[in-house]
Structures are given as C-alpha cells and as structure tokens.
C-alpha cells in the first residue's frame, strides 16, 4: 500500500457556534487527483486554509509527506512542498506575468536575501519561470502587466506560479472558475497530465472537470465529509444525491 502524501486526521474548526470543519479525515495518495466537492458554504475554503497553514485548526492533525505539519504556518508548509492556488487570484498585480512566475521560482530557490544582481537576469530563475508559463499557455503574455490579464489568464498564472515551486502536492482552490468552456477543457487536460508530477487536491465546482479528472471524490456538506469514493460510487451514493447533486443532477 502506498503511503499518502497528505493526510488529514480528525480536523476541526469552529467559528463561534458554527462548525466550519467537522471531524474531517482524508488522504491524498501519490499520483492521484482527489476532488473535494460540496455546496456553497460547505467549508471547502476553510478546509483549504487549514491545510495550507493560513488558519489554525481547533483540533486534529495535518501530516505532509510523513511529517506532522500541524504547528507550522503558511511559509513553512510552502517550503515543505505544498503548492497552493487561490480561489480568488492572489498575485502581485503591478508585476509582469513573468515576474510573478520568477517570484515563485525565487521562493523555491530560497535565495531571496540577495541584494545586488538583477533577478530578471538570473537565467536559472527566469528559465524555470518561463517553462512554467509555457506549460500553462501564457508564454505570449509574459511581458504583460498582471493587472491587465483577463480573469481566466490570472487563474492560469496561479497554476504557473505553483508549478515553479515544484511542489510535492498541489492544493488547488477552484482553478477552473471563470475560465469559460474551452479554457476549462484545456486546463482539465493539463491537470490530467500534472498528476504524474504531483498529486492534486482539487476543490472545484465544475462537475464535468471533477468527474473527468478525479480518481477519488470527497463530498463535504456542513463541514463534514459525507462520502468518499470513485466518481461512479459518488454518483450512485444516495446521501450525496440528496445532499448535493440532487438539485442539479436529478436525472
């Protein structure tokens, strides 16, 4: 049996009386795409923050690559190899597309306390950044200001920055949002090929993408995982149909 790269055990998080995360346990295995779905307000974003390190859990543990990272913050978890993309693009808007990617490469490289040589003339960093942009199809936008990108292009840049980190695990919060049908299809193809590089925990609303990509799906409702299984199992699961798919997928 393969060891999971990411293992959540009995995670809890409450905001006052509201249980945003209720005893969540799940694993991410090497080579898989594990999709996390659930209706709005199910606590997906809260859970993502708990995994990435931005939000402290009330109880439970997050293990990453066999190591307990529960007490670590965002920076330490990123350095440990967690590549995250945001639901709402979180980029340096004044920078060019390439500069944002170079920032990622710089973070991976770790040599940020260098004060004299121009970073954009550092061939190793720029090459790595450019390679990531080529992979997501943003090569032609490299010199554009990030603020001038379309919404969908920003989502792709998020993915590109995560690529430059060469992470052991991808944590993607709705990468398809705002991409449109064709863009969404392209990114689906790309993520499909990405799982060989590192497994992906994918939060996504686009059900076509989820069912096309996910090896396993977990369904989150009111902060609780009500089911985990393959696409077919989830489709057939009566509690899931009732709680979540029922409204839009009754047929």
């Amino acid at each position: 049996m393969t060891k999971p790269l990411l293992k959540l055990s009995n995670l809890n998080k409450s905001f006052g009386a509201l249980k945003a995360t209720d005893d969540v346990s799940l694993t991410l295995l090497p080579g898989e795409i594990h999709a996390l779905i659930g209706p709005n307000g199910a606590g997906k974003s809260t859970l993502i923050k708990q995994i990435a390190g931005g939000l402290r859990s009330n109880s439970g543990t997050v293990e990453f690559d066999g190591r307990d990272v529960t007490p670590l913050g965002t920076v330490a978890r990123a350095r440990a190899g967690l590549g995250r993309t945001f639901q709402i693009s979180s980029l340096a808007m004044e920078y060019t597309v390439l500069q944002n990617a170079v920032l990622g490469a710089l973070g991976q490289d770790g040599g940020v306390m260098r004060f004299f040589r121009p970073v954009m003339k550092n061939k190793a960093l720029v090459d790595r950044a450019m390679a990531a942009l080529v992979r997501v199809g943003l090569k032609d936008q490299a010199t554009k200001r990030t603020a001038d990108l379309s919404h969908g292009q920003r989502r792709l840049l998020e993915v590109a920055v995560a690529l430059t980190l060469e992470p052991k695990v991808f944590l993607m919060d709705e990468p398809m949002a705002g991409l449109g049908a064709s863009g969404s299809k392209r990114l689906t193809g790309f993520l499909d090929s990405l799982r060989a590089q590192a497994p992906i925990l994918l939060v996504e609303h686009d059900m076509d993408a989820v069912f096309a990509l996910a090896d396993r799906i977990s369904v989150l409702v009111y902060g609780r995982v009500i089911a985990t299984g393959t696409a077919d199992e989830i489709r057939r699961d009566p509690t899931v149909r009732e709680a979540y798919l029922g409204a839009e997928d009754a047929a």
Partner: protein, 327 residues
C-alpha cells in the same frame, strides 16, 4: 530610452550643474542650498526603500536622521574639546574623520532600525505609523533632556569634519562629497530594487499572501528593508549635521519625519529619483516662497494636496507616466 531614465539623468545632472553655476557666479549660499537638497534627497532615498518598495509608512525616520546627526555631534564635540567619550573599561575618543563618523552613523541608525523595526513591524497600517512616530518622539525627548550633549540647545561643531585630501569648509568641495555619497547610494538603491530581495519585498507590499505561498516570510524582508532604510537615512543625518556644523533635537522631531516623507511623496513614491526631485523642489520652494512669505508652508501644503489628489506618482509619475515593470 524610457522617459523616466531621461528624466532621471536630467534630475541627476541638475544638482552639480546648479552648484557649478553658483560657483562661477560666486554664490556660495546657493551651493549650500544645493548641498542641502542632495543630503535631504539622500534621507528620502533611505525612506523610499521602506515606504516605496516595502510599503512601510514609517513616520519615525527622524529617529535615524537624528541618530546620524548625533553620531557626528558626539564624536566631533569630544574631538574638539579633547575629552574622551569614555575611559573605562577601554578608551573611546572622539574623531573628526568624516569616514569614521559615517560608519558610526550607519551602524548606530541601522541597529536602531533593527530594534524599532523588530517591535513595530508586527503591526500594520495606522498602528505602524503611530508606533514609529512614538519611537521617533521618544528619542526626541531623550535628546532634549540629556544635558551632556547640549540638551535643548543642541551642539555646535566649530569646524567641519575632515575628508582625506579635501577642504571640507569649501562649499563646492563639501557639495562634491555629499553628491558623491548620494550618487553611490542611488546606484545601490537601483540595484536593490531589481535584486531578488527587491522583487520579493515589492511583491510583499502588493500581496503578502502571495509571498507567503511561495515560501518567503514577509516580516524578514520588511525588517531587512527597514534596517537598510534607517541606515541610509542615518548617513544623511550625519552629513546634514556636518553641513550645518550643528546638531539639535529638532533633527529627531516628527516634523523632520514628515518632511522626509514629503520629499518622497512630492517626487514620487517608489521611484528611484523621487526623493531627489522632491527634495530639490522642496528646497526651491523654501527658497523662493520663503523669500515672499514666512508662511510659505501653506503653499507647500497646497502643492502636497494637489499631488496626493491628482498626481499619485508625484513629480516623476506626472512627467514620466506609470512605472514600467522592470524585466
């Protein structure tokens, strides 16, 4: 060539050209004014690293300016009175060597920035502004109430400090020193902005979450930036005290912090030559308008208001347009 580069060259040449013209016309007072502009610009270049690159609105940079000034005052006053600063456990004597004084000013203000930064960078926004202001005022009142070095009256230094091979009392030669220091620091600042550190620091200003997500701690970047910033402003303080041959607690006061910030905002926040443009304009206004009315600050205030409301990029931004992302 980019318009901003051209503008920078003009601004850079403006100071020595004015100084040399004043030399030819035998107007030593003008040379002194230009020297003052160069030194105040240097203080602004320091602040601009924290404020422009790092987005750290420090309202306490007078602390570093004053420390630099007092580093000069203390060392030179002991040298001119032939009394050691301390005798036990080991002997420390004063000095009239400008280079040594600069070193002491840089180290002292850098260390102060490390301490002040370590405490205040845990806060953001208005709290950061207030806490840096508080540190500046603490040093101000400390300087006022410490009689050993003149207290409220400050310290007079009779002869300007020595620089190897130059007569520092000659206005044009002292200008050359101040301008050279400014030029070197501008070069360092331009490299810093484009370095890996500069990229990450500026990214942390734009979006701290992004920087954390790639595994870089914003706080460390900001602290280092604050130290570099404070050290440069401290160096400017030492030069400023030397220019006036006088140090007083005023250098520590919040007015001074405000003035340094005004240079940066007038010229253009985050622009390499912003503080140079700002300080030159400030000195020009002080000279021209100050001759017309004692209340010339009213016009300065009006100008500042216009810049903040309509020309966010300051003088440089208005002429050269939006900053081009470097690549």
């Amino acid at each position: 060539m980019a318009r901003e580069t051209l503008l920078n060259i003009v601004l850079f040449a403006l100071l020595p050209v004015t100084a040399l013209a004043a030399l030819v016309l035998d107007e030593p007072f003008i040379i002194t004014l230009v020297t003052k502009a160069a030194i105040l610009a240097l203080a602004g270049v320091g602040l601009n690293i924290a404020l422009g690159l790092g987005g750290l609105v420090s309202f306490g940079h007078a602390a570093f300016f004053g420390l630099g000034g007092y580093a000069m005052g203390v060392l030179a006053s002991h040298a001119q009175s032939y009394t050691p600063i301390m005798e036990s456990p080991f002997l420390i004597e004063g000095t009239k060597s400008m280079l040594v004084i600069w070193g002491v000013a840089i180290v002292t203000s850098g260390l102060a920035a490390l301490a002040i930064g370590a405490l205040s960078l845990r806060t953001t926004g208005v709290y950061f502004i207030m806490i840096t202001l508080a540190f500046g005022q603490m040093l101000y009142y400390f300087a006022i109430s410490w009689p050993a070095y003149g207290g409220e009256d400050g310290l007079s230094i009779y002869i300007r400090n020595d620089f190897p091979g130059l007569n520092t009392l000659d206005p044009i030669q002292f200008f050359a020193i101040a301008f050279s220091v400014l030029a070197i620091v501008l070069f360092i600042a331009s490299r810093l902005a484009k370095s890996p550190f500069g990229l990450a620091l500026s990214a942390a200003r734009q979006n701290a979450e992004r920087v954390e997500t790639v595994g870089i701690t914003p706080l460390r970047l900001r602290l280092v930036a604050f130290v570099i910033s404070g050290a440069i402003t401290g160096l400017a303080g030492a030069l400023f005290a030397d220019l006036n041959r006088f140090v007083s607690p005023t250098m520590f006061s919040w007015h001074t912090s405000g003035e340094i910030m005004v240079f940066v905002i007038l010229g253009g926040v985050g622009r390499l030559f912003g503080p140079v443009a700002g300080a030159a304009l400030y000195i020009l206004l002080e000279h021209v308008l100050g001759g017309l009315s004692d209340f010339w600050h009213i016009y300065l205030g009006l100008l500042l208001l216009l810049v903040v409301l309509f020309a966010r990029g300051g003088l440089i931004g208005t002429i050269a347009g939006r900053e081009v992302a470097h690549d």
